[in-house]
């Protein structure tokens, strides 16, 4: 690139660098500093206290009731969230995108599915609350009609055994639309010739899907996985509106713990420590993503 072009390039990107420095990098540095600030200067106090916290409302890992029903601790809840939500929403998105690819009017179905992503998550949380309401909620009513009389026919969000799983199920509904859209767009780029060739060679539908389509969707799957994991780690609004992490801390998550330290305990040091832990956790899938992208670039 000639020097003159370089100059133009730097000139036009400079505002972005300045804005990123002021509004992204500086607050991150500030948060890191606050997380290490203690009454006696700097230290790891906030991290130690946050990690060893025993309140069911703020514990990252709640050991007292293990291995009994929830709460298990906010961080464990986030991992459970990933373990259930990630495969379900990826699989549903992938299968639906594949099945709907050649169906007439599929765009209407896709639009309906995408509604979950369009509504603000606060509204999504409210919808989830109504979804599980004992009197008007679709799930309890359905189970009541089927003759169930236990927890399943009641409000799922008020029982510690069901609250977390009910929220995860609600999140699957809200998030699947995103994965469906990603996979539907990626499917457009899969050449039909490869599928036709496989059909001529006698491959059945499952073989075509698993051996021809899925491998070609790998970049899209990586994006969907990384976005879903990040979303699961920073989940907040749905929990805040639906259960506020309860009952008894059974549906608590990391972001809510951060909020509780910040807005309730007014303890900014510990809130910053939780946010740093959360950021470090999100770095793991982030680094993996960058490595995968680099690998595919080299390949």
């Amino acid at each position: 690139m000639p020097f003159r072009e370089k100059r133009y390039f730097l000139f036009f990107t400079l505002p972005a660098y300045i804005l990123i420095a002021i509004f992204v990098i500086t607050p991150i540095i500030g948060t890191v500093i606050i997380s290490f600030e203690t009454k006696n200067g700097f230290g790891l106090d906030n991290y130690v206290k946050v990690i060893t916290e025993t309140s069911p409302e703020k514990a990252l890992v709640y050991l007292r009731r293990m291995p009994r029903p929830p709460p298990w601790g906010a961080m464990i809840h986030n991992f459970i969230w990933i373990a259930i939500h990630l495969p379900l929403s990826i699989l549903l998105g992938l299968v639906l995108a594949y099945l709907l690819r050649s169906v007439r009017g599929s765009s209407i179905v896709k639009s309906i599915m995408f509604l979950g992503m369009v509504v603000p998550m606060i509204v999504g949380g409210l919808l989830i609350r109504f979804m599980y309401d004992e009197f008007i909620g679709i799930f309890p009513r359905l189970f009541a009609l089927l003759g169930f009389k236990g927890i399943l026919a009641k409000d799922w969000l008020i029982y510690p055994q069901t609250a977390l799983f009910a929220l995860i199920l609600g999140a699957v509904w809200l998030w699947t639309g995103f994965n469906l859209t990603v996979f539907a767009a990626a499917l457009e780029s899969v050449p039909t010739s490869t599928i036709e060739a496989a059909m001529i060679d006698g491959a059945n539908s499952w073989q075509i899907f698993s051996r021809i389509v899925v491998p070609q969707l790998k970049p899209a799957i990586i994006i969907a996985v990384i976005m879903t994991v990040l979303w699961d780690l920073k989940i907040f609004d749905i929990v805040y509106v639906s259960t506020f992490g309860g009952p008894g801390g059974a549906s608590n998550v990391l972001a809510l713990v951060m909020y509780l330290y910040f807005a309730r305990a007014l303890d900014y040091g510990r809130s910053a420590a939780v946010s740093i832990i959360l950021a470090l956790l999100t770095l793991i899938p982030g680094i993996w993503f960058i490595r995968e992208v680099r690998k595919s670039e080299k390949g």
Binding site: P56, E57, I158, P160
Partner: protein, 455 residues
Amino acid sequence: MSSQGGLLKAAIALSLIALLVSLAAIALLYSQIGALEAKINTLNGKISELESKVGALEQRVGELGKPAPTPQPQEQVELVVIGPWSGKSAEYFSKVIQEFEKKYPNIKIKYLTKRAEDLAQILPVQFESGLTPADVIITPWAWFIVKMAQKGYVEDVSSYVKEDEYIGGVVNNVKWDGKIWGAPFTMWLKPGFWYRKSFFKKHGLQEPQTWDEFVALLKKIKQIPGIKNPIVTGDGVGWPESDITEHFLITFGGPQLQYDLISCKKKFTDPEVEAIFKEKLVPLIKEGYFSEPMEWTSAVERWWAGEYALYFMGTWIAGRVQDPTDIDFFPLPGCKAVVGGTDYAFIPKFTKHKEAAIIFLKYIATEGQAVHVSGPAGKIPTWKGVSVDVIWTPMKSVYNKIKERNMKIVPDLDDTVGGDWQTLFWDQLKLLWVQPDQVDSVLQTLTEQHPACKG
């Protein structure tokens, strides 16, 4: 490739320079702000000194029998006021604003609704930056006002709020360092179990006079066709369950127990407290006399529709039903105190209209209370200057019933302790309501996490 590499290095170098420049600029700004803050603090100190002198002078003038007229701003001022009320409750508060604007035509009020929870999230950050979203802020969380005062964000209002003019203990909640940081507004009460008079008459039910009669009443109600549970449990983030629990604690442990639990002179694991939970409250939950928690406003509708017979709620329920003359309440037999909660107004240090804010604060702490309690807000005054005659009729009967029974008013337990223990308390009680067998674990958690018990 090499030119791209060079370009990348240049970009990184440039971004680092930008970062350093911005950090240096921020550091410079901070030092300037620090110096400015010191000057402002000195000025504020002088102003406070002057104000207290003026206050003392006003008091002397008052003593001479010539009350000093409240000065009015010369120019039109718009005051931003934040309060917790929305919907009908906001309508009732707007009457207070209207009357104030009539009296002080140069001050216009812009009212915004913000829940206490949201304020706790927004205000500390705004205050830290030397900003305020409002000139007067009203919140039921006295602990929050004190906490903000401790950080130096709140105006001292000791000169304008006379403690002896208010009902006992109300001002004490907003006192710290010998000064008063908030002005009490009106008070709600959580007096007992509300019922529809028509429902009780139809089914031949009577208010219970003893604990056995209360249990018998619940049993009788449970057998009425169409009744889901005798008592409906409201829920939101869990506060309605805490009100019921406090009522049981006060009834069987006496009013002093409420204070002892607040200060942790008694713990939740104390045998006396444990007995109240295990012998009185938990058996009723296990028997299915309480409904499972449901959103508290929809619980009002279901209770009104006759799906439930009793509802433990605050006095504001009177303003939320179609016919307030059809409702009445009874406390648990033998209860000697009722929980009362007050909304407090405070002035942030960073207001630009301090003079007008003081006028408004003084108004709502005194005459404004009379306006508020005369409507269906479901409140009673905390200022002794308000005549009982002006109180809205349904509330007057509540007031008289409490007076007849010689019941004291005690502060709300979780509102007073505050902080994140409050949400823990609510959440643990939500757990207790659906898993009453967890009572030991709940009481242990509440004790371990209580800030006063931690020391």
